[in-house]
Amino acid sequence: MEVAPDKTAEVPIVAAVDERVPSIGEYWPRYKQQAAIITIIMQLIVASVVSMSLFAGGVPFDSPVSWITLLATFLVSVTLNLYLVNILLTPLRDMVSVLKSTRGESLSEPLANPNTPRYVRDGFTPVLQSIYDIASEKQKPNTAIAPDSLAPVLKAALHQTKMGVVIMDAHGVITFSNDAAPVSDDTSGGKKLNLLFEQEDTFMNWLQNCHDNAVHAEHTWLRIADRIVGDENRRIFNVTANYEKGSAAEVVLSCFDSTDIYQPEDNELDFIAFAAHELRGPITVIRGYLDVLDMEMEDSFAPDQKELMKRLIVSANRLTGYVNNILNTSKYDRRHLILRLGEESLTTIYDTINDDMALRASSQNRLLSVNIPADLPTIAADRSSLSEVISNLIDNAIKYSNEGGAIAVSAQVKDGFVEVAIADHGIGMPANVVGNLFHKFYRSHRSRETVAGTGIGLYICKAIVESHGGKIGVTSVEGEGSTFTFSVPIYATVADKLQANDNTNAGLISHGEGWIKNHAKYTG
């Protein structure tokens, strides 16, 4: 139990406070001292009244009874009253300490805690809390920058930050940009945005859409570069655009320079491209010389030697396909897979892989039958990519079927698309596997154990088909076989879009991955 502590002489050091305003710190010790003195004087008066009463009652001054009573009364009442005063003054002390601390004066006592049991009990907690709240609100202007001095500070901050800031009016004209912003001077004396969106008009379309339909809007584009690959000082941004109709800064673009994140990936992509080049060299030689040997020695091989040659050739051919899958996957994942869609006939495309597929099937004892009607309409396709899809699917059918199994490739017209089906009578798969089938690196539990593979074949098939604007799917019955189907648009249905879109065909792609750039350069 603490009785008015005798620290009253300690006056806290007051720093950085205007001299004309007396510090709060000086108030509290003085007030506490006064309270103690007044209390003691009061008790002296009480004691003297008691002694007067005793005297009037016939007790002489020099009687021990008189002195003892007097002393006891004085001591007890002083003690009790000082204790009372201390209890009564504690809330005041705490309020003062809060104000002291918020004014930046140093504290000689611990900072008041509004959640002490006593305050919680007697309900003082919200009072003290309110003082804290009011004090901290009032304090803000002291540390924040006054509005009239804000402009130069903001300017300096915009100058320093690594984030590009571009402010535009409703028409997309740049009214402000900071040093880090990806902008350059244009020919008419204004500024233009140097951001290579997936389509040249991606951003302006968004802005137009906001202008027509939105009050406020926000959109983020990831991985937008300011220059093309290979240029020095190329930066890659994550760009967030905020639109606020009628605001002084109607459009604000925040360009977060994320080159550090994306550049290593791009370097990795270069690495993969070079690695693929290195791998393709020996594959070319192996395939080429096998072909030369096969051509020149065909007649002198014994039948079993011919079979060995066939296996060598098939294996080397498959290797080529895997290198392409790796390359395509790496490009697709980094959003660099660009297809060039032109008018093609499915028959022509299949012809490019026909020999390879026939050899592959026969060397593994599968019966491959191909039935592509001659009168199919032409399709909008990238020849080599689509042939990779077909060969991946046939490869799959071979993998997941048994010796002697039949594999049928067929095609038909369906709702403006040409639909190609690759059916096998192999092991099939349960329904729960189908959903994951086109995911990267997905391999069903069973196939992990029994069939070799990387799990990127179907993933890249889906990527390629969808970037043609088509769809890929599968129906399967466990134990009976699977049928993979994919569709690509009939050329006539998309020719206008392909040609009107300045060699790009974003209009074809109906799914969410709008970034795939399809260059449709019609050279027919």
Partner: protein, 131 residues
């Protein structure tokens, strides 16, 4: 116009020999140079029916050779077919640019000599070389 004479610009010895051997076997007259500079000199010094052009070449790269032949100064070899044969995974813009100026753009690893012979035969059957 049938194709008789072929220039192979290819720095890889194994691959170069492979093409030369199979092309000669099929009856073509073949010259082979191993660097880009010699390639351009040979291409412009003698009228070939077909040039097989690599991309990654010492001295002068394939795209630069192509520019020198079919660049801004017009087509210097209007009677010559050009096929790009490469294993390099060019970025798409450059690939499309090259594709525009050549008869075919092929990945070596995907084209066996037999297929190449087929493609050349088809090219020769076409009415006239592209202008």
């Amino acid at each position: 116009m049938p194709i008789n004479t072929i220039l192979v610009i290819e720095d890889d010895r194994f691959i170069g020999e492979m093409y030369v051997r199979s092309l000669q076997h099929a009856g073509y007259t073949v010259d082979w140079v191993v660097d880009g500079h010699d390639g351009l000199v040979a291409a412009t010094g003698k009228p070939y029916d077909l040039i097989l052009l690599d991309i990654m070449l010492p001295e002068m790269r394939g795209p630069d050779i192509l520019k020198a032949i079919r660049g801004k100064e017009g087509d210097k070899l209007p009677n010559t077919h050009i096929i790009v044969l490469t294993n390099f995974d060019q970025d798409t813009e450059s690939r499309i640019a090259m594709q525009h100026d050549v008869d075919a753009y092929l990945i070596k690893a995907e084209i066996t000599p037999r297929k190449l012979l087929e493609i050349i035969a088809n090219l020769g059957e076409k009415a006239a070389p592209k202008a």
